[in-house]
């Protein structure tokens, strides 16, 4: 500590540290630390049998310290250690040209583009279906069961069929993958928006009736603004699930690029470090996407006068 810090009254800490203790930072760091520790423990535990095998085959003497060190540095571990994953991510992002096919950002971008396309189509489709369901009794009765049924079929079963069928009619590349994202992401939007469009209370609808408001006016001035909070909540789910859809969509296409392709290639060749770094990239992407929707939500809600 410097002289200045020495003269400060006892117990005074730096603002950063105080913030960390009082805010959410410290608990999060503690949880993170515990997870990393457990991870390391499992790294040693899961990789030890192979390592001991290797020692015995080579006939080398080994100590516990050797075991710990070597289980964290295997080429193809059962479970790679955290620092191996971090090093791999670093090497394949910052350490590689952006345009290179080996760059993880490049693969993330491929997946992201179909995620976003699928998400936008899915959200639009979901909102349109919800509008129809809320305004039309026949649609309410006939469409909703199909919407729900669509989600009971496992996406892994549907994805190859969508790809194959679309390929047969000459569609390939981004769109088929995006449509798998759409298939998943429209669902939370339909459900959320039906609820949102129905959220105005009876007397609010009566109020619009006393003004002799048209259906369109009631929609734009009452139902739509009342449903916006629901829209953002369902978009958060939809964007995360879109990412899952895009990754799943990359599996049956034999795609060579995208996070899904990296996962597949990694598992073909037993490259667990590559699998884990792709997984972490996907998780980070999901967190960013949900975060961006959250920021949009906060901006819109602030403009709509929500209590801070």
């Amino acid at each position: 500590m410097t002289a200045a810090a020495g003269t400060a009254p006892a117990g005074a800490t730096t603002p950063f540290f105080r913030r960390a203790v009082e805010g959410k930072t410290l608990p999060i760091l503690i949880v993170l630390g515990v997870i990393v520790l457990i991870w390391y423990a499992f790294t040693v535990y899961l990789n030890a049998p192979w390592q001991i095998d290797a020692y015995e085959r080579a006939g080398t003497e080994w100590t516990a310290a050797d075991l710990v060190r070597d289980t964290m540095a295997q080429e193809r571990p059962v479970l790679p250690s955290p620092h191996q994953v971090v090093a791999e991510i670093w090497k394949t992002t910052v350490g590689t040209r952006l345009t290179s096919k080996r760059n993880l950002f490049y693969h993330a971008w491929i997946t992201l583009s179909s995620t976003l396309l699928g998400f936008v189509i899915g959200t639009a489709l979901g909102v349109l279906l919800a509008v129809g369901i809320v305004h039309n009794r026949a649609m309410d009765k006939s469409v909703m069961p199909w919407v729900i049924a669509s989600q009971t079929i496992p996406i892994l079963a549907v994805a190859p069929m969508i790809i194959v069928v679309l390929n047969a009619i000459g569609l390939s590349g981004l769109l088929p993958k995006a449509l798998i994202s759409t298939y998943l992401s429209f669902f939370p939007v339909v459900v959320g928006m039906v609820k949102g469009f129905r959220s105005p209370e009876a007397f609010q609808l009566d109020l619009m009736r006393t003004y002799n408001a048209s259906g369109a006016q009631t929609f734009w001035k009452l139902r739509w603004p009342a449903a916006l909070p629901y829209l953002f909540t369902s978009m958060k789910v939809a964007v995360a699930i879109s990412l899952v859809g895009a990754i799943v969509g990359e599996l049956p296409t034999g795609a060579v690029s995208g996070l899904g392709a990296r996962l597949l290639a990694g598992s073909y060749y037993g490259q667990t470090v590559q699998i884990w770094s792709a997984l972490f990239m996907a998780a980070a992407l999901a967190a960013i996407l949900v975060g961006v929707v959250g920021i949009g939500q906060r901006m819109v809600m602030a403009r709509m006068g929500e209590k801070p």
Binding site: Q204, R209, G305
Partner: protein, 274 residues
Amino acid sequence: MNANPAIRQEASSPQTSQPVVEAKGLGLTFETNDGPVRALADVDLTINKGEFVSFIGPSGCGKTTFLRVIADLEQPTAGEILVNGMTPEEARRKRAYGYVFQAAGLFPWRTIEQNVALPLEIMGYSRAEQKERVHRTLDLVNLAGFEKKFPWQLSGGMQQRASIARALAFDADLLLMDEPFGALDEIVRDHLNEQLLELWARTGKTIGFVTHSIPEAVYLSTRIVVMSPRPGRVTDVIVSPLPRERPLDIRETPEFLEIAHRVRDGLRAGHGDD
């Protein structure tokens, strides 16, 4: 029933007794899962232009239902009703009335001025006219200076005033109010009652007002309609001899107490029936 011609003439505004609401043999039966509910039966009542008519009666006697029938929010199953000489639906399409619900029901995503402008936007007033009217009506309910606030930033009483402003912003001559001050404390209520009377005097509107409070009904009204439940019917119509100009302390005068007494008797009689 009791709305005989003598009373009607007495109660009407000094000029001509021009009927705004005319109900004859009006009845409404709700078909529910537990069988029919007769919310209104044989209601004969005329409300003339410029009157302030209060509806009072125990819970479930059909006060809200009657107001909603006038507003074309509910369809009668018997008798007939005219609003400004038209069917309620035609009157609603011509935006003949403003309706104030028990809950202020301001849209939380709109500022106070945007809330008051809501009916004006729907009715297609020009921007300039919207601005002018919002300004004028917010002045009328003493909310000038709160234009840019959101509803949650206002007290319950202020929100209710804003909702009254919203019903006043367009040119409806009839104001229907369903327990607008029911959820407010006594002091705020006194204050709003005073303001409402002042507003009524200034605008010359016809007001139909539902309340559970006897003093409120007597203080505000030119005529008090006492109702009783099962089936909902009008049991008494009391014409107020009080002058139109009413300071708050009129409530201690013998005339006031006498009318209050009559209303209470009417309510008791209605209760005795079941």
